[in-house]
Structures are given as C-alpha cells and as structure tokens.
C-alpha cells in the first residue's frame, strides 16, 4: 500500500520533472530575441476614414480574411485588430461609420456589432436571429444614421444603432418564391426589390416605423434570372444587366411601373458609373488603401539556414528570417496556383543550395499559366530574387505531376521532373537527362485522384519513340460513393533517423519499421446511416501495399497529419463526443530486423506491428508539424498551431502509443509516461507567449546548422518565426556563460605551468651541480 503511493508520488514527480525539463518559458529580456512576428490584415474589402471626434488619422478596414482593423493613416501601423471566425460566420458583409463607433455586419447578416473606433473595444453586439446565414445580406443606414436595416434571405430587420436594440423584425413577403436582393428607402418607407425568375420583379413597401408590409407591386420582367446582376444606385434607380441580349434595364421605383431597356452599346459610359458604385459606397478617396501584403506564403530554409519565403499568389517574397524584413518581392506574370485536394498550391523547389560556391543558389516555383493552363516555371536566385533564366519558362504542356530527384547533376542542381497529361516525363534543367536516365530504374511515381479515389503507381521507362514515359504498375482503390481523399502526406525527404530501434525496459530492442516510401492517405466520407467517418491508410507507394489502415467512425475532418520516422500523429473531430482528438501510430518490425542494410519495398519486411493510442485535445488544432534536426539525434517535438492563437510545443513522448495505463518497473526503465487521456496546453509550452498568431495555414520547420535547433515558421494571416530546442541547447553555450572567468583561469593555468616548468628545470640544474 505504502509502496504503491510511493510509486504514485514518484510518477507524479517524474511528470513534474518532465514538464520542468521541457519548459521553454522565456525571461522577460528574451522576448523577441529569438523570434519575430508580423500581424497582418489580409486583402482589404471595405475601408473608411474614421469620422469620430477623437481623431481623423485612422482608417478602418474590413478584409477578405475576416479581419477588421484600424490603421494609422500616416504610418500604416495597426492600431487595433479583431480576427473573426475563418468560416462563413466571420465574413464581414458591411462596415459603417456611426458617430464614434464602427458598425460591422457579420454572421450572414445576423450579427451586428459596434466597436469604438479609437480603442477597438466592443460597444454592443446584437444577434438578430439564429436562422440560416445568407451569402450576401444587404444593409442600409437610415434615419440620420440612427438605424441600420438589414435584409437577409428570409427576414428584414431594423437595429437601433445607439444601443443595438432590434426595433422590429419582419419576414419578407412570399419568401418561398421571391428572392430579395436589393432594397432602398425614402423617409417613411422601405422598398424591397425581389425577383421571380423569368417572370417579374416585386417591390414590397414596408413601413420604416413598424416593419409592416404596406403594399406589394409587380413589374413584369420576363428576362430576369436569379443570376442577373442588378445594382441599386444611390439615386434609388435600379439597373439590371441582361447578358444574353446585352441590354441594360432601368427602373425608378416606386413610381415607375415599367423597366426601360437600353441596348448596351449606347451606354458604355453609364456602365462605368455602375462599376464605380461600389467605390462610391466606400468613399471614392479610399480606393488607394492597400496596406498590408496578402498572406499566402511558403517558406523554405536552405542549408545555410537562411529563410526564403515564397508567396503563392502572383507575388514571391524573400524575407529575412532574423528580422522578418522583406528583402525582395517579385511578380511572376500570368501565374496561377494549382488546385490540389481542394487547396491551392504553388510548388517550390530548392534546385541548388548555397553550399556550392561559386555556383549561385537556385530555387524554382512552378505554377500554371492563367490563360493556357500550361506549366510556368520561374527559376530564381533566392538571395536577390532575380530570375536565373532570361525569362519565366513557359512549358508547352500541362503539368499533372511534379517531383524532384534525389540525385544532382554535374552542376549540383537537383533536377525536377514533370509528368504531362500524356504521361510523358520532362525534366528541368533539360541538360539533366543523364541523371534522369540513371534514376529511371529505381524511381517510381504515384498519383491520387481525389474524385475517383484511385491511387495509381507508375514506373518510369525510356522508350525509343516517345522518350521518357511512365506506365501504371499498381493501383489501390479508396473510392466509395461519398468518400473523398482529403490528405496525402509523405515523409520529409531530408529527414535523418538516428536510431533504428528503441531500447525496452528489459534491454531488448524493438526495431522501428522505417519505410521511406510510406505515405499517409486520409479519406473522409459518410456511411450508410449518413454518419461521417475518417479513414487513414498507410500505403507503400513503390509496391502499392496497404501497410495499415484505421477507421474512425463518427469522426470528421479537417485532419491534420504529421508523418515522420516510424510514426504518424493525426487530429480529427469526434462527432459523437464533440471533442478534438489526437491519435498516434507507431510502426515496429519487432524484436528482429529483417534487412539491416537497406529498406526495399519490393522485398518488404513482414507487416509491421502498429502500436496506437488516442488522446483528448481540449483545444482546436489548425496546423501541425514536427521538429526536424540535421542528424535526427535530438528528441522530436510536435508543434500545433491552435485556433486561439497559440503555438504549442508538445514533446513526442506525450504522444507515444506505448504509454502504459498501469506502469510497471520495465515501463519506468524505458522512460514511459503513464497514460493520461487528455493532453493539456500548459502556458509555458506555448512558444509564442503573448504574440498570438491567427488563422495559421501551416507551420514549416527546418533543421538549423546546429543539431539541437529547429527553425519554425508559422504562416497564415500572421507570421511567426522562432527556433526551438527540443532537447535543450546541448551544443550551445548558455547566454550567461562566464567567458571572462574561464579565460582568466585558462591563462593563469598556462602561465603557471610555464613558470613552474622553468623553476623545475632550474632546480634540476642546481641538483645536478651538487
């Protein structure tokens, strides 16, 4: 009994010690020493000059990243910022300046908030209804800016802007047949303009005082479609554009009872006016407000540890990884990103690092041409950003697959290979065909079709008539009626695994299943009872062997995956218990290793033992990655970007599927932490302390020159760059290392040894004379 409590205490101590060990908390003077961050706002959608009495130096903006912010009009600095939900609920539909406040309309037209424009403090919030959100709700300020009227797909309501109280709510008349998209007002009434496709336009008159429908009139319009674009001018005139016959129809409600058609060729000038309407709504003088750069950024770090960021929409940025300063930026004309599993990607390749002087480093970005869809390759020097070729390389085929060879050519360039739609293989640089020729025999390609769910493996071959081609050699079918492939995650190519196995408590070794060709696929779908599920497959992409697969019933994505060494960690949403969970898989060959020299997928070891365990996450994970170091000796940590703005640095040991429920002496010998179902987020493990970063798309990690250190770059709306030491700084001298003392001691030692040597020699001489 006493012994068991003693063990329990010991275990508690162990856990506490463990956390103390990994604590990465900083001293106050270390803030910003190892890291930098940038708070951004995204692409500006609405902007207005602050008309409040305190100051007129502010510009208030709402952006496509669901952010509202106040900016200093002289410096562009962000004075305050609020980040709304990333989903449709957070979309800002309108932005108004009312007295000293700024009013926003979000939540599909259902949530109205008023913010103090000087401080950004929420003044009041008003939720109109919990009804379905509308894509494009309309709103108008009325009665000397004292009331806001909002039109959603099924209701129209008025909000008093002093307190946020909802004055009245009314259902739109005939909401099942009529689609209301526009409205306008005069002093007493509100006029809703709705369309019935192919039939007529309805104008409903609603009392501004009570919200009662007074009158409904119909104007015949057989040409009108749901997709017809109409615009309400400030004068109260409705103008619609009918694209088939190229006619403009205009109506002056409520008195007008007929649309006046105008052939488009007559009114080019007027059309411009319509286009300008959106600008006049924003105040014509705010057009130039484009403050912060857009956010899509990809980073790579080359061997010298210098970070280069590449932005995936037309622009490419080079950012200093010490300060976050933009060194260069460039536009690649006509480039658009590829669509891959529902995400936009612009693959970036490190062709040559900085390690091959006098050859300059070489990076390449692949995209497709906006008009033709053919491949577009920009090869540039990451230090200067300058194009290394005469111009951007226009490939004369559509790229279906791209990958980089592990071998490099005589100029130390690692060639990139492209597979076109005819399964023909091309290589860049073109001179590297000899490298490709060597690679053909033992390089395989695979492709996953998200729509059909078929994963196909190809081998490369060289034929006399076609040149390099690829032909299918294996296929795996992950398709079901409602199932889609959502993730394909391979291991990092530059990853080193230091230890082949794991020493157990009884001094035997459990060998890791280290298959470099293993790729994680996840699918999400719905079963016969319309319950969602997530399935994870581990597939060897050389032979097409399904090594392991696991299915989570009543689970949903988005699934974040980390795949490294012999383990996979992934997060998902448990629908039944309404919580986020993280699962860890570890693959082992067993107590013996079948092939000790090299791994071959064509002569694979027996099916691995898959250890698995899951844990509860009391927070939302938006992105996940693992630390990576040069030699792989350092412990692994997992970095999780949380929805609340933190970046959590979690030791992999906490996500070890061998954590025992009831620890034995052997388990303790092995250093396993007893199982606890929940993985918390202690504040000292949040590496970005109070520098919260929001809407993170991904975290990139790269090995630094020092084995102990990993460079971390989180990007999304905000940017955050830091370094982490998963096993502490074992190869770096501490900050407070006493250089003076050690040099004084060393010098004294050397001096005294010289003097003593001389003295000893003299003494010996004297002794010899005696």
């Amino acid at each position: 009994m006493a012994a068991s409590t003693c063990i329990l205490n010991f275990v508690k101590c162990l856990i506490i010690l463990f956390f103390v060990n990994v604590s990465l908390a900083l001293y106050a003077d270390q803030v910003g020493k190892f890291d930098w961050n940038q708070k951004l706002i995204g692409k500006v959608k609405y902007a207005l000059f602050d008309h409040s009495t305190h100051s007129s130096k502010r510009i208030v903006v709402a952006t496509e990243e669901n952010v509202i912010a106040a900016l200093n009009s002289k410096t562009g600095a962000i004075l305050w910022r609020h980040v709304f939900e990333k989903t449709s609920v957070g979309i800002v539909h309108a932005l108004y300046n009312v007295g000293n406040d700024v009013v926003t309309l979000t939540g599909g037209g259902n949530i109205i908030r008023s913010w103090n424009s000087a401080t950004g403090v929420l003044h009041w919030e008003s939720v109109a209804s919990k009804s379905t959100a509308t894509d494009n709700p309309q709103s108008l300020l009325m009665l000397e800016k004292k009331t806001l009227v909002v039109l959603t797909s099924d209701t129209v309501f008025a909000v008093g802007l002093a307190t946020g109280k909802i004055k009245w709510t009314a259902e739109v008349p005939n909401k099942d047949t009529v689609v209301y998209k526009h409205f306008y007002t005069d002093l007493d009434n509100l006029y809703l303009i709705g369309t019935v496709e192919g039939s007529h336009v309805t104008i409903a008159t609603i009392s501004l005082e009570t919200g009662k429908v007074k009158l409904q009139t119909q104007v015949p319009a057989s040409w009108v479609l749901l997709s017809t674009t109409c615009k309400m001018l400030q004068s109260g005139r409705l103008i619609c554009f009918e694209p088939r016959m190229k006619y403009l129809y205009s109506l002056q409600p409520p008195s007008g009872d007929q649309f006046v058609p105008t052939a488009l060729s007559d009114v080019m000038g007027q059309l411009m006016v319509i286009k300008d309407v959106s600008f006049t709504d924003l105040h014509a003088d705010s057009v130039g407000v484009q403050v912060a750069p857009d956010h899509h950024i990809v980073i790579t770090v080359d061997a010298s540890g210098q970070a280069k960021l590449v932005k995936d929409l037309p622009q490419v940025f080079g950012i200093d990884n010490l300060s976050g300063e933009v060194i260069w930026q460039k536009l690649i004309p006509g480039i658009v990103p590829f669509q891959q599993l529902g995400k936009e990607t612009l693959p970036l390749f490190v062709l040559r690092t900085t390690a091959h002087f006098p050859h300059p480093p070489e990076y390449a970005v692949l995209g497709k041409h906006k008009a033709t869809g053919n491949g577009l390759l920009d090869v540039f020097n990451p230090i200067t950003g300058r194009c290394m070729t005469r111009e951007v390389i226009q490939l004369n085929y559509r790229v279906q697959h791209v990958s980089q060879l592990a071998q490099h050519d005589a100029d130390f360039v690692r060639p990139v290979i492209f597979v076109d739609t005819n399964k023909l293989i091309h290589v860049y640089p073109e001179t590297a065909t000899d490298v490709l020729m060597e690679a053909v025999a033992h390089n395989y390609l695979f492709s996953a079709d998200a729509d059909t769910g078929v994963v196909t493996g190809y081998r490369m071959s060289l034929t006399a008539e076609k040149g390099f081609t690829s032909e299918p050699v294996w296929s795996v079918i992950l398709s079901k009626d409602t199932q889609r492939i959502t993730n394909v995650v391979a291991k990092r190519q530059n990853e080193h695994v230091h230890s082949q196995g794991r020493v157990l408590g009884d001094r035997s070794v459990l060998y890791k299943y280290l298959n470099p060709n293993l790729v994680v696929f996840t699918t999400e779908g719905q079963d016969d009872q319309e319950k969602s599920y997530v399935t994870l497959y581990l597939i060897d992409v050389i032979s097409g062997q399904v090594v392991f697969s696991a299915n989570h019933q009543r689970a949903k994505g988005p699934v974040n995956i980390v795949h490294s060494e012999n383990w996979v960690v992934y997060t998902y949403w448990n629908q039944r218990l309404r919580r986020h969970e993280v699962a860890a898989l570890e693959m082992y060959e067993g107590r013996t290793q079948s092939n000790t020299t090299a791994f071959s997928s064509l002569a694979p070891p027996p099916t691995p033992i898959v250890e698995r365990q899951a844990y509860i996450l009391p927070y939302t994970v938006v992105a996940m990655t693992t630390t990576i170091t040069e030699k792989g000796i350092t412990n692994r940590h997992i970095l999780l970007a949380l929805a609340d703005g933190g970046i959590l640095d979690l030791p992999k040991a906490l996500l070890d599927p061998r954590r025992p429920n009831t620890p034995t002496a052997e388990h303790r010998e092995e250093g396993l932490i007893p199982y606890m179902p929940e993985i918390g987020a202690p504040k000292e493990m949040i590496i970005n302390y109070n520098r919260s970063v929001f809407n993170i798309d991904a975290i990139y990690s790269a090995p630094a020159g020092l084995e102990s250190t990993t460079l971390i770059f989180a990007y999304g709306l905000d940017l955050f760059c830091t370094r982490v030491w998963p096993s502490k700084m074992f190869d770096v001298l501490k900050d407070d290392f006493d250089y003076w003392l050690i040099s004084v001691v060393l010098t004294a030692l050397i001096l005294s040894s010289i003097i003593l040597q001389k003295m000893a020699a003299r003494k010996q001489l004297h002794a010899a004379w005696k």
């Binding site: 050699v473 296929s475 079918i477 992950l478 399935t535 399904v546 696991a550 299915n551 694979p604 365990q613």
Partner: protein, 236 residues
C-alpha cells in the same frame, strides 16, 4: 476463367451482404445442420501478366473463407504452360515485372507488381495479401515471394508449373479512441487506496515507531550519561 463484367457487378453487390452475414450463418450452420454449401465466404479472381505492358490472363481465384480470422485460400485454374514459363523466364532475365490484379468494380482493378526474377527464383511460392476496408470492399493487393531476393538461381521448368501461394487477408481496423474509462477506474482505485491509507488501523506503536524509537534511544543515552557523570561525582 474470366468472369463476365455484369456477373461480376452483381457478385460484388452480393458480396457486401455475404461478408456481414458470414459469421451468423457460420454459427447457424454449426448449431443446426444448415446447408454447408453456403459458407458466406467470397471469391475473387486473380489475373496476372509477365512483364510490364503484358496481357493479363487468369491465374486463379482467391476464396476468402472468413474475413475476421483472415482465412483465405488460393486455387490455381490450371498449371502454367510452356509458353507462360518462357515469358516468366524472359521477364526474369530482362529484369522485368510480374504483375497481378484483382477486379473490384467494373473496369476497376487493384493491382501490384514484383520483380519477375523473385517469383522465378522462388519457384512460384508467393504470398498474396489482400486488404479490405471496414465494409469488406477490396482496396488493395500486395505480393511477396519467399524468398524475396534475386540471387541468379535457375530453377527447372518442372518446378514452375504450380503456384505455391498462401493468402493473407487484412482488414481496416477501428482507430484508437481515448481510453478514459480505464483511467477513471485507475483514479478511483488510487483514491480508494488513499482513503484506505488514511484510515490506518495499525497499532499506535506500529504507526509511530520511527518517532518513538529515537526519543527512547535519546532518553537512554542521556540517562546513561547522567548516571556516568553522577557516578563520577560520587567518586570525587
């Protein structure tokens, strides 16, 4: 023997039910004298080709007797003829591939390959591993030979007619879930132990001997030295 596509389609629709019903029926057949012809297993046809780009021909059928226990057998249609052996030898000598595929849906196959030489040198002894998803649909197949490596052996033709194949069936497993119940039980047990530890009904001495013994020892020593000093005083 190639199964016609439409037959195949029907077969696969039936297959799902067959997998679900298999265990029930199997138990029923054991309990009462059920017609043992219908054992709930299903068959998959296996096709093979020598050399990449070669024509696929039928190799045999895999009969999955039980999905849960992964019990399945391979039946060869007919022994390999001379022409096929020659193709295999040619593929092995030219470092070519040997490919197999299993039709799942109409016009859809799961397939895999190995080096032809490893099949050739292993004298047609191989392991087919079929991977099923959670509902029992075939998602993938893989092939290994015993031994798997090529050493340049040249087996005689007589050993290259009949496949010595074993079949493994693997199914998608249920993913791990957080084990809260065991943990809560452990917590409850620890708490119980703690409570039991507080209600200590050992004797007073058993509980506090570690405090009593030093006090006693101390007292003994001091009294002994008192006596010693007292004795000394008496002598003076």
């Amino acid at each position: 023997m190639l199964i016609q596509t439409n037959v195949l389609r029907r077969f696969f629709i039936e297959m799902k039910f067959a997998v679900c019903l298999h265990f029930l029926l199997f138990v029923a057949a054991k309990a009462g004298d059920f017609d043992s012809d219908f054992d709930g297993g299903y068959t998959l046809s296996v096709e093979h080709a020598f050399g990449a780009g070669g024509e696929f021909s039928s190799r045999g059928t895999v009969t999955v007797k039980s999905v849960k226990s992964g019990f399945a057998v391979f039946t060869q249609d007919r022994p390999l003829n001379h022409e096929e052996i020659e193709k295999l030898r040619h593929a092995a000598e030219s470092d070519g591939f040997y490919m197999i595929r299993i039709p799942t849906k109409p016009e859809l196959y799961v397939s895999t390959f190995i080096k032809a030489c490893s099949l050739y040198e292993s004298e047609l002894s191989d392991v087919i591993r079929i991977h099923l998803d959670q509902t029992g649909d075939v998602i993938g197949v893989s092939l290994t030979t015993v031994p798997a490596l090529c050493q340049g052996l040249e087996p005689p033709d007589s050993n290259l007619t009949n496949f010595n194949t074993s079949v493994e069936v693997a199914q998608t497993v249920t993913g791990p879930t957080p084990d809260t119940s065991t943990y809560l039980q452990k917590m409850a047990k620890d708490k119980e132990q703690k409570v039991a530890g507080e209600q200590d009904n050992r004797s007073f001495f058993a509980k506090y001997w570690m405090y009593i013994v030093p006090v006693v020892v101390f007292m003994l020593i001091t009294s002994a030295s008192d006596q010693g000093s007292g004795g000394g005083g008496g002598a003076r």
